[in-house]
């Protein structure tokens, strides 16, 4: 029973809360994917402050500890990993997280080439065979052990899709594709299975889908932070994303003399939230350096916002002596998903559930946010911050989720997202910007889409006006 409820909540979170990562790219409309935007200049590396270099023995130990999670929660039959320790559910965001963890584990030689290939083959095989919601797009949830589409109770059934989850997966697929040519064709085929007509419109707005009785309802998906990150994923596969790549509509809140942007949509009438959290900015920083990379562009304000998101948390520590590294987390108890936000629903340092209810008792230093801040900003603050979290692990099971602000108690949930984040952070430390474009447009995906007899009515970029 407790598991069941946890599961439901988590799923909801992943789907609608924009908690999970996605990437998009902005490209010109109606142009062949790869050639679009190739003239855009990479504006250089703005990550000069970050931590770089080979892993220290301690960091190698951190990575090995994180990888324990992926050993314990692996389902060889499907290739999937549980989203939470022992909880047999997977989402597209969790698959994206996993793919990056997998290339990190191989890079650190925690796993052999043989094991890497086995795992990669299994997950690509899953992506090319999994049932799709309404035969369009990946469902919100899949059973990690059976591979079928599942509902909030993780029983067989379909729910809908999240553009945020799909965006995160598309970023991860792009990254892996451009680093490992030997898997590129099969990654392309997985993406080519989907139909994009209802998830992104011609202006680049992103939509989620959900089944309501016999109908499928579409809703605008993504709030500031996650929305632009998910847009990177769609853009990476050639979709124009002007609207979702733009931070607008923005509103501004001043916190510790920093003007911080937050989502300007009004969440009061929808009983939702507009949580501003750290994680999407960390992903974007490690993967794209908050810049235009090749043809994958983003809003010029995103880098400023990312810097502000870091700075305001640092200042909270400096002025209030409260360690701060906040992001959305999965909880072991009600309400199961918590937006531990910098700003949400009109309040600074708000900690609220999906519907905006205030839960100050769950404010915490998030392990994944702290690691991300540590690796992207090499400062006295993150030197201290990492000390708050760097012992929060079980050597046999992986890293815990957080340390609670009001008591110091360790929140002992163990999740895929946190363990994958630690591997990704260390991969970034060792290799620098994670997305490295290949600069070649003659690959399977583009060749396939150029063939007008093969691209039927699924609204891929070449067929858009």
């Amino acid at each position: 029973m407790p598991k069941f409820r946890t599961f439901c909540t988590y799923t909801t979170v992943v789907l609608t809360a924009s908690t999970i990562v996605f990437v998009l790219c902005v490209c010109g409309c109606g142009v062949v994917v790869r050639s679009v935007g190739e003239g855009i200049e990479n504006v250089g590396n703005s990550l000069k402050e970050g931590r770089r270099g080979t892993l220290t023995p301690e960091e190698q130990f951190w990575a090995k500890t994180a990888w324990k999670y992926f050993e314990n929660n692996y389902h060889p039959k499907t290739g999937l990993i549980n989203v939470k320790d022992g909880f047999q559910l997977a989402t597209m965001a969790s698959v994206g997280d996993y793919l990056l963890a997998l290339i990190a584990a191989r890079d650190f030689e925690i796993i052999s080439r043989h094991e890497f290939d086995g795992r990669m083959s299994a997950i690509l095989s899953f992506l090319n065979n999994m049932p799709l919601f309404n035969n369009e797009l990946p469902n919100l949830n899949y059973s990690a052990n059976n591979g079928w589409m599942s509902n909030y109770a993780n029983q067989q059934g379909e729910l809908g899709w999240s553009a945020m989850d799909i965006g995160r997966l598309m970023v991860a697929l792009r990254i892996v594709r451009d680093r490992y040519f030997e898997y590129g064709e099969y990654i392309d085929r997985a993406v080519l299975r989907w139909s994009f007509c209802n998830v992104i419109d011609s202006l680049g707005n992103l939509y989620g889908g959900t089944r309501v009785g016999d109908r499928i309802e579409h809703y605008p998906d993504g709030k500031l932070g996650w929305k632009e990150y998910a847009a990177r994923g769609f853009q990476a596969w050639g979709f124009p994303t002007q609207k979702s790549s733009s931070l607008d509509p923005v509103d501004v809140i001043r916190m510790y003399d920093i003007d911080l942007m937050f989502d300007g949509g009004d969440e009061r009438e929808s009983n939702g939230n507009n949580a501003l959290v750290t994680l999407p900015f960390l992903f974007d920083g490690m993967e794209f350096g908050w810049e235009n990379v090749g043809y994958i562009t983003t809003d010029k304000r995103y880098v400023t916002q990312a810097q502000s998101v870091y700075e305001v948390q640092k200042r909270r520590y400096e002025r209030e002596d409260i360690f701060t590294a906040r992001t959305t987390r999965i909880l072991p108890e009600e309400p199961y998903l918590i937006h531990d936000a910098i700003f949400s629903n009109g309040n600074k340092w708000n900690t609220c559930s999906e519907d905006g209810t205030y839960y100050p008792q769950f404010s915490a230093v998030s392990v994944k946010a702290a690691f991300g801040m540590w690796v992207l900003w090499k400062t006295a603050y993150t030197d201290k911050l990492i000390m708050v979290v760097n012992l929060l692990f079980d050597p046999e099971r992986g890293w815990f989720e957080a340390r609670l602000e009001r008591s110091g108690e360790v929140e002992r949930s163990i999740t895929l997202a946190t363990n994958a984040m630690i591997l990704e952070c260390l991969y970034f430390k060792k290799n620098g910007r994670i997305y490295q474009p290949i600069g070649n447009s003659d690959y399977f995906y583009n060749i396939y889409l150029r063939d007008e007899f093969k691209n039927f009515n699924k609204c891929f970029p070449t067929k858009r006006e």
Binding site: V252, I253, R254, R268, E269, N345, G346, N347, Y358
Partner: protein, 468 residues
């Protein structure tokens, strides 16, 4: 004349001085105190008609047997806040010549005679509500029973009792006798913080009362009677939210944790302006063009500016404050900012109800008199016809439908009257210098020492400094 609060007080005084000495304004009545902020001068025929119409409410809802007036049209209940609006209305109509001195004296005498007889909550202070026909303590449903007291309501009453004492000293002793019955031991603590009381399951509970705006206004009310409300008088704790680039101050105490909302509305700042000129409570020296409570004066300026700016940018007429409705939920905090959101309209439990946003007449007229601008000219035109000639002015005009809120209240009509009086007379609190019964009682310590803190401590209260 448009005021610029950002310039230094010295410059401001010089500016006024020049204006007064070299620019005689045609048709203006000069009070002994010189010009005041906003609109000055005798009422025009239209404005006078507005005053007469607002007074209709008080004629129609007068209860001759008790001398009280219903707070809502035909609803025989009232609060200390609403009684204060009645006092304001009475002073306005007698000084504007709408009623004669005898009528005024009769009404004031009757009211305070009745009030000296009412039963107090826990034998301490006036209950939150009274029945206007029977004088019984009642609950919000106007059923007999005591429910508590409100420090803010009492403070507004004390401000108006003081204004009448000083402007019409023939009533001073009667008013003092009434207030000397009260026991202040639970309404202010030794740090100068104010408390309200309520009954819960037979137990009386005292909780801190007042949020930014109302709290500082109320703190002055107690200071006028010699109490030390240092902590309440401080604008802290506050934060600001930028709305259209204007830093709007709001109370930092968290509405998610504490029951009280932190609504920012026009009313507290307007009342502080017209009654006390945004001065410190006991300032009887400075001219009306100088504000000796500069923080509140600056906040008031921003409260005005942001509403004008909203009109400029969106075309929506804006003059917001808490107000009644003509349908369920009957009352909203129609705020410039509250509970995290700009232009938020919420019910008492905090539900978002944007459909009840409105131009509140008392706020619109208050802005009109304190800020002489083209925007407030428009506000005046917008509200000037929203009345029923038999009952008085409507509560407001709904923002979306632009239909009137068909509710009539004593508070709305009373504030409109005192606003009109301000145009003619400036700051309404004028000190006579006369020693009253209350002053003597304090001096001779006839009031129990634990029930208040002596006047001499007031002089130590330092005016709050502006936050940089």
């Amino acid at each position: 004349m448009k005021r610029h609060i950002h310039i230094s007080p010295l410059l401001l005084s010089l500016f006024c001085f020049v204006l007064q000495t070299t620019v005689p304004v045609f048709g203006q009545i000069k009070s002994n105190y010189g010009n005041h902020p906003g609109r000055n001068g005798a009422l025009s025929a239209r404005e006078m008609e507005m005053a007469r119409t607002a007074w209709k409410f008080f004629e129609k809802n007068y209860q001759p047997q008790t001398g009280l007036v219903n707070a809502g049209d035909q609803y025989p209940s009232t609060t200390m806040w609403d009684i204060s609006a009645y006092l304001g209305a009475l002073v306005a109509v007698v000084e504007l010549g709408i009623i004669d001195q005898n009528t005024f004296d009769g009404r004031v005498t009757k009211l305070f005679d009745s009030f000296s007889k009412v039963e107090l909550f826990q034998n301490e202070l006036p209950n939150k509500c009274y029945n206007t026909i029977t004088l019984e303590k009642v609950n919000y449903a106007n059923q007999p029973g005591e429910i508590g007291f409100s420090a803010i309501d009492l403070a507004r009453f004390l401000i108006w009792a003081k204004i009448i004492k000083e402007r019409h000293p023939q009533h001073a002793d009667r008013i003092d006798s009434c207030v000397l019955r009260w026991n202040f031991k639970n309404v202010i603590d030794s740090t100068g913080q104010m408390y309200g009381a309520f009954s819960e399951g037979g137990q009386v509970k005292y909780v801190q009362e007042g949020r930014l705006g109302y709290e500082e206004y109320s703190a002055k009310g107690f200071q006028l009677w010699g109490f030390d409300t240092r902590r309440a008088a401080k604008p802290e704790p506050y934060d600001t939210r930028s709305i259209y680039g204007i830093e709007i101050p709001y109370d930092k105490r968290d509405p998610r944790v504490l029951a009280a909302h932190n609504y920012v509305v026009s009313e507290s700042y307007v009342l502080d302006g017209i009654e006390m000129n945004w001065d410190t409570a006991l300032d009887d020296v400075s001219t009306d063009m100088k504000h000796t409570d500069p923080v509140i004066a600056e906040f008031a300026e921003r409260i005005y500016k942001v509403q004008e700016e909203r009109f400029r940018r969106t075309g929506i007429m804006t003059a917001r404050t808490e107000h009644q409705l003509d349908k369920d939920p009957y009352f909203v905090y129609d705020a410039i900012f509250t509970d995290g959101y700009p232009w938020n309209t919420i019910t008492e439990p905090g539900k978002y109800v944007p459909e009840f946003a409105a131009v509140a007449l008392k706020a619109a007229l208050g802005l009109w008199v304190l800020w002489d601008t083209k925007y407030t000219d428009k506000l005046f035109e917008y509200i000037s016809k929203a009345f029923d000639p038999q009952v008085g002015y409507y509560e407001g005009i709904y923002e979306k439908s632009q239909q009137p809120i068909k509710a009539f209240t004593m508070n709305n009509n009373g504030i409109m009257l005192e606003v009109l009086l301000y145009k003619v007379k400036g700051k309404l609190l004028r000190f006579s210098g006369r020693e009253s019964k209350w002053d003597k009682a304090i001096k001779e310590r006839e009031v129990r020492p634990e029930s208040f803190i002596l006047q001499r401590q007031i002089s130590k209260a330092i005016p709050p400094k502006a936050k940089k």
